[in-house]
Assembly symmetry: C2
Homo-oligomer: 233 residues x 2
DNA sequence: TTGCGTTCGTTAGAAGTTGTAACGCACAGC
DNA sequence: GCTGTGCGTTACAACTTCTAACGAACGCAA
């Protein structure tokens, strides 16, 4: 079953050790955050000396970059799978939230505080584009008629730039952007613990914000219920 | 003008050195992030030996906690000043964005990736409540009639919990929450550089999201323009 | 099966970090 | 002017990342 292809024993061993290093790194990150990741501690856990790990990763930065890459790939895969299963914007939102709650620090590795000097390698930005492409696919499903809004008009033809030349109308771009920023806004604050002790269920806030995206004219969870004050006067 | 009160020369000197340490720390954080903060480097910059700083801060953690405290206080002050100047939700949004852009790492110190083990001291949560109070003040200004939405209904009487017993109606709580999460969503992604190279102005996206808060029924930047598809069929 | 070469893990060490301990000096207040 | 508190020092321990040099083990090929 394990059709590993033409890999030498050394390559297999190397891949296995690299995988174990990354797994231990994930465990460490989950409990101490990315800044608390220690190569030496990982080596000790594996019964190795510190410098041994440098045979597998050039250094701490490369390991973290690899973890970021895996995190992006994981989210991109989840989105692609959801898309393939026919999930719409709501399905993607559920996928995103489940992915985030599954490992909050993994979410923060992708969308959290950036290191000022760090610049993501090209393949990572490619994965980001793939994620955006799945999002645009789902955003384009819902029909968009009516005149283009001022900001949306600014988005004309930007799909080519974002996601592998995705040809999406401005309204879809606007919707995808709102999906991203609003759900990230709720999720990141929830995962950071800023809602603890506030007495409401973050999941409800998440779905309420989702509703503003999938059903913009649905008043059920709008900011202002219908029949508000007459603003024309 | 400088009514320092009854402070001994030693106290004044101590306060001055502490202030200089914090200032250098802010500079370091701005260029290398919070994880790149080094007490030794600060000491060298000030012409001191490493352990000298431990007379002023118990350790790295206490210094960072103090910086977080200052960051919270800074935002709370900015919000209070804006509120006192009669700023509404839009004014608070402008204040927030200017405060964030002024020092992105300071923003991330407050709303960025949390350290798993860290728990904020009580006075910091009190400042968070004060920020929330300013937000609720502005949120309560706009009248809210109509039936309470499902999620908003869950927020009944929660103002007492959030912000110094602030008596706000559910709709105001809902609005404040949306203000917080939506603007944070846009701001944090912008500051993290996730919009770079996408070809649109993050400021426009910010104001577009703000419009959904201050003018929920304004179609100008809504997700779906008016006259959308008939969803009842 | 017998080499040979790549790869791996080791120890040693440099340069950095946080943080503690002990010492001396200088300053402020009495 | 004396005295004690507070400050800065050096020395040190324990940790980190990361390099260098060495030896052993392993796979492959003849």
């Amino acid at each position: 079953m394990a059709e590993t292809g033409t890999t030498t024993p050394r390559e297999r061993y190397r891949a296995q050790v690299r995988a174990e290093i990354k797994q231990r790194a994930w465990e460490q990150i989950a409990t101490a955050g990315a800044s608390g990741l220690s190569l030496n501690a990982i080596a000790k856990q594996m019964g190795l000396s510190g410098p041994a790990l440098y045979r597998y990763f050039a250094g701490r930065d490369e390991l973290i970059t690899e973890l970021i890459r895996d995190a992006y790939r994981s989210l991109a895969d989840a989105f692609r799978a959801a898309s393939a299963a026919g999930a719409g914007l709501a399905g993607l939102a559920r996928t995103l939230r489940a992915w985030a709650l599954d490992d909050p620090q993994r979410y923060f590795l992708v969308y959290g505080t950036p290191v000022p000097g760090y610049h993501a390698p090209d393949d990572v930005t490619a994965l980001a584009s793939e994620i955006m492409a799945s999002l645009l696919d789902a955003s384009a499903e819902a029909p968009s008629d009516g005149p283009a809004a001022p900001f949306a008009a600014q988005l004309e033809g930007l799909g080519r730039q974002w996601a592998d030349g995705h040809p999406a109308p401005p309204a879809a771009l606007r919707r995808a952007l709102a999906f991203w920023t609003r759900l990230h806004g709720v999720l990141s604050l929830e995962l950071a613990g800023h809602f603890t002790g506030m007495g409401f269920d973050p999941a409800h806030l998440f779905t309420a914000e989702l509703t503003t995206l999938t059903d913009p004219s649905d008043p059920s969870d709008a900011i202002d219920p219908p029949g508000g004050p007459d603003r024309s006067g």
